[in-house]
Symmetry: C2
Subunit: 186 residues, 2 copies
């Protein structure tokens, strides 16, 4: 039985060569990550319906900028196995939990894609090598976006199941965010 990440890698044509390229990118990309985090959160602050879910003030945003950099380092880890999929799925689920709408996750990935593409242009001369990096990175971002959005689908399905199991309590349950969701294995 093919897992979620296995099937989506196959869909995108993500090969071991892509994983190696991404791992090579980790070191040259490292210096851009603080600016990526600034760009990422400066955009969120322009969108009140996204920003309001980060209710912890400046301290929370400062912490999340570090978290975002760690997430970006993960893109370049070179290992994209079931543990990776589960971690990314959980990151998505944390966004579901705080009430961030999926549309902001998709657009935020657009910001990451755009920013990292520009970093590749700064870092490498026009070459087949740069093109290979760019293709591998693009597939990786598609994969990560898919894992994070999947948590939205599962959280909502979980909600449906919970409503279905306890129909007499439906009005109260709909307002709740589920406290737990099963870890998604495939």
């Amino acid at each position: 039985m093919e897992s979620f990440i296995q099937e989506m890698k196959r869909y995108l044509g993500f090969e071991e060569a892509d994983a190696r390229l991404l791992r090579q990118l980790g070191s040259p990309m490292e210096k851009y990550l603080p600016d990526l985090a600034e760009r990422f959160y400066s955009q969120i602050q322009q969108h009140p319906n996204a920003f309001r879910v980060f209710s912890g003030g400046e301290a929370q945003i400062a912490r999340l900028k570090q978290t975002l950099q760690n997430w970006a380092r993960g893109l370049f880890s070179g290992v994209y196995d079931e543990a990776y999929a589960e971690e990314r799925y959980h990151i998505g689920y944390r966004h579901v939990r705080i009430g961030l709408e999926q549309k902001y996750v998709i657009s935020a990935m657009g910001i990451v894609r755009s920013f990292l593409s520009e970093c590749l242009l700064l870092e490498f001369p026009a070459s087949d090598e740069r093109l290979k990096y760019s293709r591998a990175l693009s597939k990786m971002l598609d994969l990560d976006l898919n894992l994070m959005c999947e948590s939205y689908m599962h959280a909502t399905l979980q909600n449906l199941r919970s409503l279905n199991a306890q129909p007499e309590d439906a009005n109260q349950q709909q307002a709740d965010v589920p406290e737990q969701v099963e870890v998604y294995h495939g």
Copy 2:
């Protein structure tokens, strides 16, 4: 009140200049669209859980290849207004209706992104012009993906509301795909 597409354009920094660039791309991209449709559906056929929802056989696939080309022409129409948003949302909703999982929509957009990026490389020499086209196209694909995935979120929320409204009928309702969903305006 900002609409969905207005806000997401703002998120991605999609400007009128991008719309003009995409409109310019329409003519040179036209010749690649039949191959895009072939690539798109050849991948789906490698994924039984996606392919099974297209139950109309070869005739349906042939028709859908034309539909896909029309969708791609829309990317280059140069006009991305509320009517555009509504059309894209409805395309997404048709995918919800036939039971295609969101993960396939996200990965299929990865295929489109990859294919059209290669077309830009074939069509234009390395230049600032190509870079501008590439940036505009990337934002457009993020926007389209977001509109299509939003229909998944709305269909599921609609389902939740319907369960909530008629809890005594919950077991039967969960199995149904809703016949109608309100047109999404923003």
